[in-house]
Symmetry: C2
Subunit: 440 residues, 2 copies
């Protein structure tokens, strides 16, 4: 134990950050030059660039390219310690939390606590859908989907009856936000280009991709015009767009879609992707009970304008777990709110205790529809098509963490978008034949 | 079913190839212009570039980079069909095999059968070691090891007692052939360079790597001088080389090593890599029973000089499953024997039934000791050090299948060897905390 940051005689202000997503990452970065010691606790060993999860699920990028090791990101932060563990409870009166690390529980004291635990997939009131439709929140979700998607084409090729083959070649994406749109677009690109000439019994390009959205527009946050552009681009790609439609039933092999007029549609499909809703991480409920904070309908914690929990100025909540001014659950909000809390802590250490409200600067939103086409809303600028895609490219290359991930992702995009290749098609683990990929 | 190759009226000579490793791959390629239809059956969906498995296990390369989809390799082979399935039995009198595809059994008839089913890890007479020491034969092995290796450093950082920490920071590699040497070297590179400044409680560079070899030399196939060079390079790297030493016991946390003089050494170690022995795939025994062929001590099938099974000229055995002239179980033998059978089939179709013996051209062998250092034996040429490494580089880039894998691997090598980064460090699945990574 030669490390000064862990030594008991270190009396610096201790900031504990729960979660190494965008919120935790930007809070830690913003604290770099503040005279504090920092402990970042996460259940995984990596920071996850969630906006590109769909590219792992469809074989373009590898896990590591969107999930650099958190320790490596902060290797030059000598006052920052990374803990691989799960936070079990928060004790605001003792200023401490309990952390489970590889089966052993440890108590960690904090002076300031930044809770950036993020969100999980919400199936609304249909938790039974969980086993029938994979979410899109974690690396494991993406790898599961990768196995399911490439496995579906294998099973279609091997299928001996037409009905089963049709189900394996039909993909239902639930949710018309950016994630759903990007996933549906890439499924079409995959089946039309990347799998070309790969099969002898099936024609992958004849596979169906359905995109089901409860509202009456795709990517509603982008404004009416871009919604229309997105819808047209999706349909040109061959995605079957169902607006004002809800998934009202799901089992092993079929999905029931109910349209606004009450008519239902039964679709045979073996692969379903749930990109419809999120809900604050379970730690939110634990924290609310411990602090008396209020949870909103989406399981997020309602915070003061400065991102603190009412009555607990040392506890900040940021990002997807934070309910404030109806801010959306996007990466930008997490980054900016994380950095805001870091600055607040810095000011307090200098004696400035006055709370300052978090003001979100909306830098825009975007979604890649297909290769070379995207929609982007940046400030007053709203563009689609190739120009939108160039913006998408610049922004994603800029925000990917670390030079090597930028370089690596760029070279994969050249291979996948200009060429036709997908690197990551290896079926691993239980996706190998002989085991039932739908078990577990 | 629009595919002519699968249509029942296709009366072309049907070559069935079991296995898409080096043997199956080169047989299929060599049959490209022969007027036959080909069915390649493999239990996985990918061709595996086994010589670089250790780089997946140590986080340099991604799965996809050494495991391109077999279908994609043969997309421009219209007469070649790929089947994802497991061969259950062979019926030489009916000229057919039984294949399990996603739970359903199909019978496939052949005119010629090339069995290239490869080898599995052999624990000699200690199958109980299987749960304590991971093999190095499949992508799943490598991913398991990747989780175990990076997980071990995480567990060492979290460990609260010194003994446990020591065990997590001690790696035992069993087997001093190229695979064991490369693995041991990369573990040292990893702990000394890639993980630098990543931890606050442990110093990864203080981790121990033991290389245990039963014979009295490392990489014995390379000749005495290169063995000595390898041994010296390993020791300079900090690898503890134990020659003339056998693993005689293993449990969850320790390994017993018995030296030639009978003294034993108990080493606390949580991570063990078994690169000591291989054994012909289980299909070999099935095939031997069906054909009356003889299995050698390593579970390989003894074949005629032309690689056919005695009395069954339509059945060829190639690569690691073939016992012929004491040829080693290396990629080159598999490639050349696979191609030899393809040529034999081509000649027979032209009426030339005379058997021609398979003559192996030994193109050499090599092992990367560390970044910038390798030993290579190519014909009469025996070189070590940087020159050996350049040869290693040229040969591996040349033999990697497909342009994009060559390009991708090269760029990762730049990042890992000139830089210090490892892309693939994400702990996935059961390696995340909360679950016991040593379970299952």
């Amino acid at each position: 134990m030669t490390n000064p940051t862990a030594a008991p005689e270190d009396h610096r202000h201790h900031v504990v950050i729960i979660g190494a997503g965008f919120g935790g990452l930007f809070a830690t970065k913003a604290l770099r030059r503040t005279p504090v010691r920092v402990t970042v606790i996460d259940r995984t060993n990596h920071h996850l660039f969630q906006p590109l999860l769909y590219q792992v699920a469809t074989g373009i990028l590898s896990e590591g390219q969107i999930a650099p090791a958190t320790r490596d990101i902060f290797r030059n932060y000598p006052s920052t310690e990374i803990v691989l563990g799960e936070v079990l409870s928060v004790d605001p009166s003792a200023h401490s939390i309990e952390v489970l690390e590889f089966g052993e529980t440890a108590t960690v004291s904090y002076d300031s606590l930044i809770v950036a635990a993020g969100a999980t997939t919400s199936y609304f009131d249909h938790d039974e859908y969980r086993t029938h439709a994979s979410g899109m929140k974690s690396l494991d979700d993406a790898l599961h989907l990768r196995g399911q998607i490439f496995g579906a084409f294998e099973r279609a090729e091997a299928a001996t009856d037409d009905e089963a083959r049709l189900a394996f070649m039909t993909f239902v994406v639930v949710g018309g936000g950016p994630t759903g749109v990007e996933m549906a677009g890439q499924l079409k690109e995959l089946s039309r280009r990347a799998l070309r000439s790969n099969y002898r019994r099936i024609d992958p390009s004849s596979s169906r991709v359905l995109l089901v959205e409860g509202g009456d527009r795709l990517v509603p946050a982008m404004g009416e015009r871009l919604s229309a552009v997105t819808e047209r681009d999706m349909e040109r790609l061959g995605v079957e767009v169902h607006l004002s439609a809800l998934v009202t039933g799901m089992d092993e092999t079929s999905v029931e879609i109910t349209q606004r007029d009450g008519t239902t549609l039964a679709v045979s499909s073996a692969t379903r992707i749930w990109a419809a809703g999120t809900r604050g991480a379970p730690l939110g409920a634990t924290l609310a009970t411990a602090t008396g904070a209020t949870l909103d309908r989406s399981g997020r914690i309602e915070v003061e304008p400065d991102c603190t929990i009412p009555g607990h100025p040392q506890i900040f909540v940021v990002g997807d777990l934070m309910a404030l001014d109806q801010l959306p659950g996007v990466a930008e909000v997490a980054m900016q709110s994380g950095a805001h809390c870091a600055r607040t802590i810095g000011r307090r250490l200098k004696g400035d205790e006055a709370p300052r409200p978090f003001v979100y600067r909306d830098l825009g939103t975007m979604a890649a529809v297909s290769r070379f086409r995207a929609v982007a809303k940046i400030g007053p600028l709203k563009v689609g098509g190739f120009l939108g895609w160039l913006l998408w490219l610049v922004v994603h290359v800029t925000f990917l963490t670390g030079f090597k991930n930028r370089f690596g992702a760029l070279s994969r995009w050249v291979i996948s978008f200009i060429g036709r290749g997908r690197y990551e098609r290896a079926l691993i683990g239980r996706w190998a034949t002989g085991e039932d990929p739908h078990a577990g």
